[in-house]
């Protein structure tokens, strides 16, 4: 098909606001808010300007928009080395321990700050009773910083009253930075590189989703932290429920796609997260397993982990001694494949067991805690109980592995390949440090949270802390490069023409057919997304083939994905909302392509329970205990792969 070009014949060219800043933060979630707070504190004395741009409203953007019922990384009384061991075990042995260890040393300070800013954190009183965060404060229980005892739901997790978690974190960031330095409802879609150094970021272009207006940001350093990738795979839901993704449905892979387009290297993009959660509502299982001590069984009351553990140990020797998240999924999938589903979380047994030792009042409190666990972070899961007349103290609930997600902050480690915190940190190889903590392989371009690959288990608190670490390094980079004269290699008018092309195409062709939805000249963003989800599901080990693929399937998937990428040059948008969806889905395509190509490259099954290469069903440490690193060249549309050895830093 002939290439379409925007000549502004059918769509009016938008006015452009140019924003000059030193440090640009792209994104508004936990990592971005952490970066904003820390950067604002340092920038004052250093005379630097910091700007944040978010496609939504910072108060409720990112993965914590709905709230959270726990902070999943608080090191507290544990040694940091044990945190590294836990993350390494859970992510099947290939992780960057320099990144994990340095994050472990910083994360608690962010939690202390959250509490000071007003986040209610559950505490234990002198008798060992659980108090909510407000009662604890009223009763004079010390804060965490002053030695108060949190209510641990697991070794690393602490319970909170987290409905307003993000509002609090956002308020801190907004007040620190000043609203005059924050652009909300502006979606950044393209990064710019320097004319004289193609490996140096120097700006970004985006558009307002509220008015016909574009933004050109000029900067000396940038943090890209826009979360992971959601809805790149066909979800289990078939219609409205597609919005009920486990991770936020607005996470469109921008964190990976935009840096990849300017050549930033990615690592372990074959990794994914398949959360096993309360079916359909995606309620969290952590508190039920760890805090309420609930058991999960197959349909015949057999503990699915116990039933399969000897088998899993034999299948994946050396990896099943303490079961990581993917291997626990694997045991669940065995039960499902062999027809012993559904898998049930026995909330009713757990509550009955707890009732034996609790007073009536304590039991009432416990019931509220169980409901709050859902109401704070996945309200639909509570509603699902109500809609089917289910009380968790009376009946069990189904749990199920969901569609795959790509991310770097939870039990997954896809992301960008970044510099470590310092030269030879804990004995790290020389090539893990190139001057600035959490800087990608593109000079001046930093990332945090879901963006940083080969680590993981940072969760909300760790993402915030990592944003702060990256922000400091970015400011140091700016000071070290004060005299650099930057000029974009890209022509801004050309970039704008590319961004607004979906408007031009829609207006040009919409009257050719009697209904704008079906038109041979373009695809609307929903149609792009549907095709992407189908390809990823069927060929790249989605839910339908039970998370299984092989080389021929992946190659066919790639063929189809390549057609889709070409067709994406004919996306059409009727309004600004659709224009946003177009570019979100374009970012999803690139992230999906990276995922597919990485799975094709790694000829083993490193993450059983997340995905299976049926043609290489084993873990092959001899050949594949390595970091897989890819680099995309947008000009040639080619991908280059290499491996780097894993090195253990913590015994």
């Amino acid at each position: 098909m002939e290439k379409e070009v925007c000549k502004w014949s059918f769509c009016e060219k938008p006015p452009v606001e140019t924003v000059e800043t030193d440090f640009l933060i792209v994104g508004g979630g936990m990592a971005a808010c952490g970066a904003a707070v820390e950067a604002a504190a340092w920038a004052k004395a250093l005379g630097l300007k910091v700007t944040l741009v978010d496609k939504a409203a910072v108060d409720r953007s990112g993965a914590v928009a709905m709230g959270l019922s726990a902070i999943n990384t608080f090191i507290g009384e544990n040694p940091v080395d044990d945190y590294v061991r836990y993350v390494r075990t859970d992510l099947m042995g290939i992780v960057r321990e320099d990144l994990i260890h340095s994050l472990g040393c910083h994360v608690d300070q962010s939690v202390f700050d959250f509490e000071e800013w007003g986040l209610p954190i559950w505490k234990k009183d002198a008798e060992g009773h659980t108090l909510d965060g407000q009662t604890a404060k009223d009763e004079g229980i010390p804060s965490l910083k002053d030695g108060g005892t949190p209510c641990r739901s697991g070794r690393w997790q602490i319970m909170i009253n987290g409905e307003s978690y993000k509002v609090i974190v956002a308020e801190a960031a907004k007040n620190a930075l000043g609203m005059e330095n924050i652009y909300e409802r502006v979606f950044v879609v393209k990064l710019l590189t320097d004319k004289n150094n193609p490996n140096r970021v120097c700006g970004a272009v985006g558009f307002s989703v509220r008015e016909h207006k574009a933004y050109y940001f000029k900067c000396k350093a940038m943090l890209v932290a826009c979360g992971g990738v959601v809805n790149v795979f066909r979800p289990r839901a078939v219609h409205e429920g597609q919005g009920r993704a486990w991770y936020p449905v607005w996470n469109a892979g921008s964190t990976y796609a935009m840096p990849a387009e300017i050549g930033a290297k990615m690592v372990l993009m074959e990794n994914r997260f398949v959360p096993a959660r309360f079916k359909d509502g995606y309620g969290p299982v952590g508190a039920w397993f760890l805090f309420f001590k609930a058991k999960a069984t197959n349909a015949f009351d057999e503990d699915y982990l116990e039933r399969n553990w000897e088998r899993v140990k034999q299948e994946y020797p050396g990896y099943a001694e303490s079961p990581g998240t993917c291997l626990r999924n694997h045991a669940m999938m065995i039960e499902m494949k062999e027809g012993r589903g559904p898998i049930l979380m026995h909330t009713e047994w757990a509550m009955a067991e707890l009732a034996k030792t609790l007073s009536k009042k304590e039991l009432k409190h416990l019931e509220a805690e169980a409901w709050e666990d859902f109401l704070d972070m996945s309200i639909s899961a509570a509603s699902l109980w109500a809609s089917m007349n289910m009380e968790p103290d009376k009946v069990p609930s189904e749990i199920i592995p969901s569609e795959p997600y790509l991310l770097g902050s939870h039990a997954g480690c896809a992301g960008l390949w970044v510099s470590g915190p310092a030269k030879n940190y804990l004995g790290a190889p020389d090539e893990w440090f190139w001057g600035y903590d959490r800087m990608t392989t593109v000079e001046g371009l930093f990332t945090a949270g879901d963006g940083v690959g080969a680590s993981g288990h940072k969760f909300s608190s760790g993402s915030h802390a990592e944003g702060r670490m990256a922000a400091k390094a970015a400011l140091a980079f700016i000071l070290d490069h004060k005299d650099d004269q930057l000029e974009p290699a890209q022509n801004i008018d050309d970039v704008l023409a590319e961004i607004y092309l979906p408007f031009e195409i829609y207006e040009k062709y919409k009257n050719y057919t009697s209904h704008p939805d079906v038109n041979p000249n373009y695809l609307r963003p929903k149609q792009v997304q549907a095709r992407l989800q189908k390809i990823m599901d069927e060929y790249v080990a989605g839910v339908t083939p039970m998370y299984t693929t092989n080389k021929p399937l992946l190659e066919e998937g790639l063929r189809r994905l390549t057609f889709l990428k070409e067709d994406a040059e004919r996306m059409a948008a009727a309004d600004l909302h659709e224009l946003m969806r177009c570019w979100e889905n374009y970012h999803r395509i690139l992230a999906g392509e990276a995922h597919l190509r990485h799975i094709l490259f790694r000829e083993e099954t490193r993450y059983p329970g997340y995905y299976y290469r049926a043609d290489f069903p084993k873990i092959d440490d001899e050949k594949w205990k390595v970091f897989t690193i890819s680099q995309y060249n947008k000009e040639t549309n080619e991908w280059k792969f290499e491996t780097l050895p894993y090195k253990q830093l913590v015994s």
Binding site: R60, W117, D132, N161, I168
Partner: protein, 141 residues
Amino acid sequence: MPSFVIVEKCDGCKALDRTACQYICPNDLMVLDHETMKAYNQEPDQCWECFNCVKICPQQAIEIRHYADIMPLGSSTFPLRGTDNIMWTIKFRDQKTIKRFKFPIRTTPEGSIDVFKGKELPQDAAALKQPGFFTGPARTE
């Protein structure tokens, strides 16, 4: 659906400088129909059911009819979010079982966070390359 707007209650946020639901929705779903001056969810199958529009609506005009492909009709989940706590009322499909919960949401007044208060702001650029934040040191181990 997921979020829906009750026609009789929505006033298009006439008294405010911007529509509350449109301002807050993380996924850009809520829009105002300028003819009817009523808000609506423009892309129901992309609704996360995060309830942020429900919580922020000054008229309590927004509720959630849960995902039609998943949930039976008849139940309701409704929050009343105050400045320091949230009250939830959950009515089961049987119309008889009702659960009410109240949880704290923050321990400081809204808008009061001053991250620099009582903190010594860093002055030394060399410290940017050292561990630690402006609010406290990193652990050393």
